[in-house]
């Protein structure tokens, strides 16, 4: 009984702390309500104005910092922090400094909403997140009610940008699936294609479905479609064996590099050497500590970002990132970096000031997002549509001699240069086939 009382007391104290902590750290308690209630919005704005002298724009970040998806969330956090540091050193946004508060969502929809609410209590005026798809959709639902601007660096599912306040930096799942199928078809990489995908993952099935659908219009055939799940993702021997038995010359791998590194190793172990074709999740495979880069030779993938590009902006980003975090940035970090600069551009275009309410900022930024054009590390002349989708072309990256190399800047037109590249790739396949026989 005593214990229960002690627990009760602890609980009451805990509740009081949460309830008041939110209020205490606030510029004014009404700003939280202001977000939900547009009438109170302006009032909250004026209260916030007196808070800091120079003014600080508060940007919240949401992503997994613990749990199985932590690697992506941490990369986004690092990329965003780097951008914020640079922005502040260059004088901030419209003269106001930027403050980033990054909250953990554990790759869970419910926790993501909690993280979002924490940020709302803190007074976030725009949100960069969430990193993964399902949490992003959940946050989208609540952010839309509050009318807070949301830009996801890497939420690829279609529903991530369902509402007009949500935008994204990365490609959508269907877009990647369709582009991959088109590229394979138009460049005649293979006639028989196998696909391996994670049937328990939103990103992976999203791409696979679009890929399978588009494949009907292309001159290749999907001879094997094999799945794996989050519970059994260490052994791929069966999936590879089936692809091999079906005579697939190309294996499509729409999932992340950590699983892909296993697939490549196991394929090498069974002496199966098709072309492997991946999506943006494949970026980062060469940065895996201890990974034998030779296994990834001839791996082709669609990516918005290559760390080895000689573009000066990318070079600067990569060296700065390496200096601070001691590793090569991947596509997630690059998306976050661009995302932060997109927020800056939109805020400058909409002349956002720190004393505006989140809802007013959202209205201004919604209008500005479609106006801005920016040169980022993931694309040049990046623009957005009102639907929330970015308009950028995927780059096709091929790994050769342990390094990334951009095959073609424009996958759609297919210049003469690409044709030869693709033919070479096709020849390579034939070469390996004869060797295998």
């Amino acid at each position: 009984m005593k214990l229960k009382k002690a627990l009760c007391a602890a609980l009451t104290a805990a509740m009081a702390v949460t309830a008041f902590a939110g209020c205490g750290s606030e510029p004014g308690p009404s700003s939280q309500e202001g977000a939900g209630d547009s009438a109170a919005g302006t009032e909250a704005g004026t209260e916030a104005a007196g808070d800091t002298a120079g003014g600080t724009i508060k940007i919240g970040g949401i992503g997994p910092l613990t749990g199985g998806a932590a690697v992506y969330g941490i990369a986004v956090k690092n990329g965003a922090e780097l951008a914020v540091k640079e922005i502040n050193e260059a004088g901030g946004i419209n003269g106001a400094q930027v403050e980033l508060n990054y909250q953990d969502d554990e790759h869970d929809a419910e926790k993501a909403v909690n993280a979002y609410n924490t940020l709302k209590d803190w007074g976030a005026q725009a949100v960069l997140g969430a990193v993964t798809s399902a949490p992003c959709v959940a946050v989208g639902g609540v952010a839309q009610e509050d009318n807070i601007f949301m830009l996801t660096p890497s939420g690829t599912a279609v529903d991530c940008v369902k509402y007009d306040n949500a935008f994204r930096v990365c490609f959508s799942d269907p877009m990647q699936g369709v582009e991959s199928a088109k590229y394979i078809g138009e460049h005649g990489l293979a006639a028989k294609v196998a696909a391996i995908y994670d049937s328990s993952d939103v990103y992976s099935t999203g791409i696979y479905q679009a890929f399978a659908q588009e494949a009907e219009n292309q001159n290749f055939e999907i001879v094997a479609a094999e799945a794996f799940t989050a519970e059994s993702k260490s052994d791929f021997s069966v999936q590879l064996q089936k692809a091999k038995d079906a005579g697939a010359e190309l294996v499509f791998l729409p999932f992340y590099y950590s699983e892909a590194s296993l697939v490549l190793k196991q394929a090498a172990g069974m002496d199966y050497k098709p072309i492997f074709f991946g999506c943006d999740g494949m970026d980062g495979i060469l940065a895996v500590q201890g990974f034998d880069a030779a296994l990834a030779d001839n791996l082709i993938f669609l990516s918005p970002f290559t760390p080895t590009s000689d573009d000066p902006a990318i070079q600067k980003f990569v060296t700065d990132y390496q200096e601070v975090y001691g590793e090569t940035p991947n596509q997630f970090a690059a998306d976050a970096y661009d995302g932060m600069y997109a927020i800056k551009a939109a805020m400058e275009d909409g002349s956002v000031t720190p004393d505006m309410s989140p809802s007013d900022i959202c209205e201004a930024m919604k209008a500005s997002m479609v106006n801005i054009t920016m040169d980022g590390v993931t694309a040049k002349n990046l623009t957005w549509e009102a639907s929330g989708e970015p308009s950028k072309e995927p780059m096709v990256v091929k790994i050769a001699n342990g390094d990334y190399a951009v095959v073609d800047d424009d996958a759609d037109t297919g210049s003469a240069d690409t044709e030869t590249g693709a033919d070479e790739a096709a020849e390579n396949v034939e070469g390996t086939e004869t060797a295998a026989e």
């Binding site: 005593k2 229960k4 929809a109 709302k120 939103v202 479905q209």
Partner: protein, 352 residues
């Protein structure tokens, strides 16, 4: 005035505690003195409390270890979200739709409970635990490969992808494999959740103190003795198990109608979640319903309160969990607490 007996008083304290909590929170909400974080946590808290109480029925009262409770929650969540999404236009009144969704979710989970309970309850101890875990994982796996779409020709099912549903162009995909169900109407509210907690407590507490409840506890304490006095073991075991499953389904309904997206990930409907609910039950005290309520609240709030620790958050959470378990369960800690309590009581008596 008639003096209340001990169990009635204890039950009333439990109800009172929940009602008091509701009133305090409601007052804080209407006064605007509540942080968005806490406000956002209110509905999930209701779901977790119901889960903890319902699992306590299996673990504490029936005495069987279940590691698949999240599976029933998953069934309740998906069936009800499916219903609400289909009926969103046909039944615009949120209250009626939600009530039906609740009934459907609870019924589906309860039926699953019976179907699973019949074979499972023949096993004992850790073997039963692993089979419930297995069922939980099977349910999650099946939900993840389910594709259901609706167009003017009716429903289409597939276990492959949306493309093979063969729908007409204006058809709508409702259950989209691992992407689950998005856009479920957000019908769960704190008030409804609280009412459901009270109903859950009412069902569970009444069951415990009824004739059936005593039969269930007799089976827990000594199965052979219970059998020898003519208690129908299978019937009572199934009763407790399916009620527990149906209540978990109710929690699933609350969960599903609170978020814009419903996916069956290891985190929310896998064994991780089942184990988390078990942690609530054991920390709160096996068989102690009020303890489950308190533990569910404490452990749901704890990681959120620790957000200030940023990187060390989950680490400290784990340490606190271990410390709480040792404090609550270790015989030495219990002895120390009792000693301390006795001293305290003596002091009080002296003062009086």
């Amino acid at each position: 005035m008639k003096k209340l007996n001990k169990t009635t008083r204890s039950n009333l304290i439990t109800y009172g505690m929940v009602i008091a909590m509701f009133l305090i929170m409601q007052a804080m909400v209407s006064a605007g003195r509540i942080s968005s974080l806490l406000q956002g946590l209110l509905v999930p808290l209701c779901a977790y409390i119901i889960l903890a109480v319902s699992l306590n029925l299996t673990v504490g009262i029936l005495g069987e270890l279940s590691l698949g409770h999240a599976g029933f929650m998953c069934v309740g969540a998906f069936t009800s979200a499916f219903f609400s999404k289909c009926m969103a236009e046909a039944l615009p009144v949120a209250g009626v739709r939600y009530l039906l969704a609740l009934l459907i979710g609870a019924a589906a989970a309860g039926v699953c409970g019976i179907l699973i309970g019949i074979p499972v309850l023949r096993l004992k101890g850790d073997y039963l635990a692993i089979v419930t875990l297995a069922f939980g994982e099977i349910i999650k796996n099946i939900v993840n490969i389910l594709f259901i779409g609706k167009d003017e020709n009716g429903f289409h099912f597939s276990t492959k992808d949306t493309f093979s549903l063969g729908m007409s162009i204006d058809g709508e995909v409702i259950v989209n494999g691992p992407q689950g169900i998005t856009g479920t109407p957000k019908d769960s509210t704190f008030a409804i959740g609280m009412v459901l907690i009270l109903i859950t407590l009412f069902i569970v507490l009444n069951l415990i103190h009824s004739r059936s409840g005593r039969a269930i506890m007799a089976i827990r304490d000594n199965r052979i003795a219970a059998e020898s006095i003519g208690i129908n073991i299978t019937k009572y075991k199934l009763m407790a198990f399916s009620v527990s499953a149906a209540l978990a389904g109710v929690a699933g309904v609350i969960y599903a109608h609170n978020l814009a997206t419903l996916t069956a990930q290891p985190k929310n409907f896998g064994y991780n979640m089942s184990i988390m609910i078990l942690v609530f039950v054991v920390l709160g005290g096996i068989g102690n319903i009020r303890g489950s309520v308190i533990a569910a609240i404490v452990l749901t709030l704890l990681p959120e309160l620790l957000r200030g620790l940023s990187d060390y958050r989950m680490l400290i959470y784990a340490v606190v969990l271990i410390a709480m378990m040792l404090f609550n369960w270790s015989p030495k800690a219990i002895a120390w607490r009792e000693q301390y309590a006795a001293k305290f009581r003596r002091k009080k008596q002296k003062e009086v």
